[in-house]
Amino acid sequence: MAALPKFIGQPIRRREDPRLITGEGTYVDDVKLAGMLHAALMRSPYAHAKISSVDLSAARKHPGVICALSGEDLAGRLPSLPCVAPAQNVPEHPALARGKVRYVGDAVAIVVATDPYTARDAIDLITADFDPLPAVVDAEKALQPGAPLIHENFGTNLAAKAEMTPPGFDKAMSEADKTLKFRLVNQRLTPTMMEPRGVVAHWEHGYKQLTLWSSTQIPHLLRSQLADMLKLGENKIRVIAPEVGGGFGAKLNVYAEEALLGYLAMELDRPIKWIETRRENMAATTHGRGHVTYVEVGFKNDGAITAIKAKFFCDMGAYLQLLTPAIPSFTALMVPGCYRVGALAFEQNLIFTNKMATDAYRGAGRPEACYLIERTMDMVAAELGMDPVQVRRKNFIPKDAFPFTTAAGLQYDSGDYEGALNKALAMVGYDKLRTEQAAARQQGRYLGIGVSTYVEICGIGPSALLPPKLKGGGWESATVRVEPDSKVTVLTGVSPHGQGQETSFAQIAADALGIDIDDINVLHGDTAIVQYGIGTFGSRATALGGTALVMALGKVQEKMKTIASRLMEVPPQQLIFTNRTIALASDPSKSIPLQKVVEAAYGYKQPIPGVEPGLDASAFFEPSGCTFPFGTHIAVVEVDPQTGAVKFLRYVAVDDCGKIINPLLVDGQLQGGIAQGLGQALYEETVYDENGQLVTASLMDYAIPKAQMVPAIEMANTVTPTNLNPLGVKGVGEAGTIGSTPCVANAVMDALKPFGIRHIDMPLKPEKIWRAIQEAKQAKKG
């Protein structure tokens, strides 16, 4: 048999793909059960209104309708939806609105019918009377005296407030040669995963067991919360995350529909399916971002930042979803970016508005921070007439300063920011580009070069950093089971939905056990199969789940070595796994086939006395700290001053996510992330009008990037491993999004520099650019 290659580090094509490219993957909507019913929801068209009455009689009479319920019908039967993150004011959040509706899309009633067409017909038969109230749409205005209250019981629209001004801050600010103050808007975004949410709930009456398929990133955490809400033992709920068509943080939640379907499946004793429509997805799946920040930065004439003060107004929406109030804290923590900022002070106001709740969205707090600090760097550069690259170099945390504790109190594990920057500058040909830019300006062409040097926080742990109500910490789990035929089953607590861990984890296991990748099956996303796990979010899966896997593999290896050492009569510590054998490290020709060891372990041939039969092991990895991937992105754009259109000329990305298990997957994560990040910079914005009506309510009006809107990305890596986990990996799921948004914004601002334009808020739509140019021209004339 040919020698097996090493798999880690190789661009192995994905093992998930054969089923997905042939249409054989099973997403929630593909689950079909005998006698299954279909649910539809009636949602509020008002942003803020008292519910006068909900008349379900006509809907109930409609042929094919099995049941119709309003919020009042559920009073006392289904508890509030959970928010596990701490906040001073956590409102009651009923699955169906009671008394008031608080955002457009707030669920008012649910109908269950024999088929989805009938369920939809019945929605039109519901008569609901609302008594409209003034809506609060703008988070800053929501705090003004006299603003309508969204939750009257709190007497305020403030959900929480956090402040930090360290001693010595004022001194640091006073040491600055200059200060700048500006306001930045990090606009609200709609995650827009391609598969809307969906739930199938099945109550097996005989077993008293509920099975719930949900398009979720967190099957176990969802199970824990549902067990609470439905008053079932966690051992009596099975949550299955089948194929999940993208999540981006918006499926890291516990939603009304999950609770409602679980509840109704039990009540009706029939399986029920609910599939979100795209309009529901835009209106009633969590949004992201939504910060207004007032920045004050103090700096020396050489560009050194002495102090930053940031005052945030964070738009929570009408209710607090699972982690809503936790997201802005990541922003505050990451404000210093990859710089030795002298001192940092911040104030965060978390504010209710009559809109859908915000929560995690790719980056979850870090893109907001990165945008803030990277725009600040360019603002400082513009103020001082310095090259933005020089200002960054001036402030970088040097390579030899790690582990480094930042002004926000975080300890960064490792980094070489200058290294990534230099590589990106060389790739793009920075100096030459600047010359070309100057020449182009002479010809009336507006080229812009934007740089962002980002750092982010991944693999968030230790568990003490996470709220106890989450019922899961910052750890992750894995089980490795060597089956009697030497095939290996890996059970992981992470819940991949596109990230490719069925492949990358198989690579890790194959190398560890010296077997072929095709001998490994990675299972996930089913709480009845997999040990408790936390899920996939926050770029944590490989750093934490991968490490748990390495640990479980270690335990299995130990046992196999013990058995092999008895069979081979050599000390176990001299053994290695190679080429489907366990061999003597000093002389691999002296080996025993793995299968022999497995047979012994299972005791059907040559049982080893004193060794417990079986061959599996579980491990839970609790990290001692977080990892901090980083990189440099450079965008080159051209702005058409007549129409404000932005065209990409180049995009260079140099990313450092530590060691790489599968470069194909890493590239994929980065490219997708960059597209999402440039979407925020140029196109995307969730718009509610002044009455709280959602204007970007469909894909007709919410622009996610299409293929021709995204440039070809020139990619490269640097590798700075972390020592916080044995794989040396840091995380890569969100890096692209975090780095690209400020990079593109900086590029556009650089293009507009000849007009004297310093800043335009995102998204940088052609009209805004055109208008800024007109105003700048007017100002020059005036």
Partner: protein
Amino acid sequence: MKVSGEQVLSGSREQVWELLNDPDRLSRLVPGVQKLEILGPDEFAGTVSVGVAAVKGVYSGKIKIEDKRPPEFYKVLVDGKGAQGFMRGSGTIELQAKGPNVTLVKYAGDVQVGGAVMQVGQRMLESVAKMTFGQFFAAADAELKASAKGVVARQGILINFWRYLVRLVRGFFARS
């Protein structure tokens, strides 16, 4: 959504005022009115079919007239809803005499629209509103002219009232 505009009608200010306060005639002239009930002085309940071409929705609701200053001003409050959404808002009507038989009508309104119509039809809402006003004023002008001649303009007496309206509307929104 804010809508405003002005329109010249062929009638004296008193005639126009009378027309704009006559529920019977209004229910005939406002496009799509299916039913108009008088609930009390200056308060009406009605059902209107609003829309253009295939996109139509039936809305029922209440209309209330306030701050009347005959023959020059009133304020109108609208609150209607239908399967595809709701409309809520207020507007003002102001009449200025421009000649013995010429009256300038100034209208302004701020209407909140919600529901499916808003979600996917926002780019066309203002145009629909303008069109509806245009149709109404065209019909009102025809009515005023006809009553001056002593005939009642009704849909029935025109072979193709729609096309007639359309021609008038085009006149109002004339593009050079």
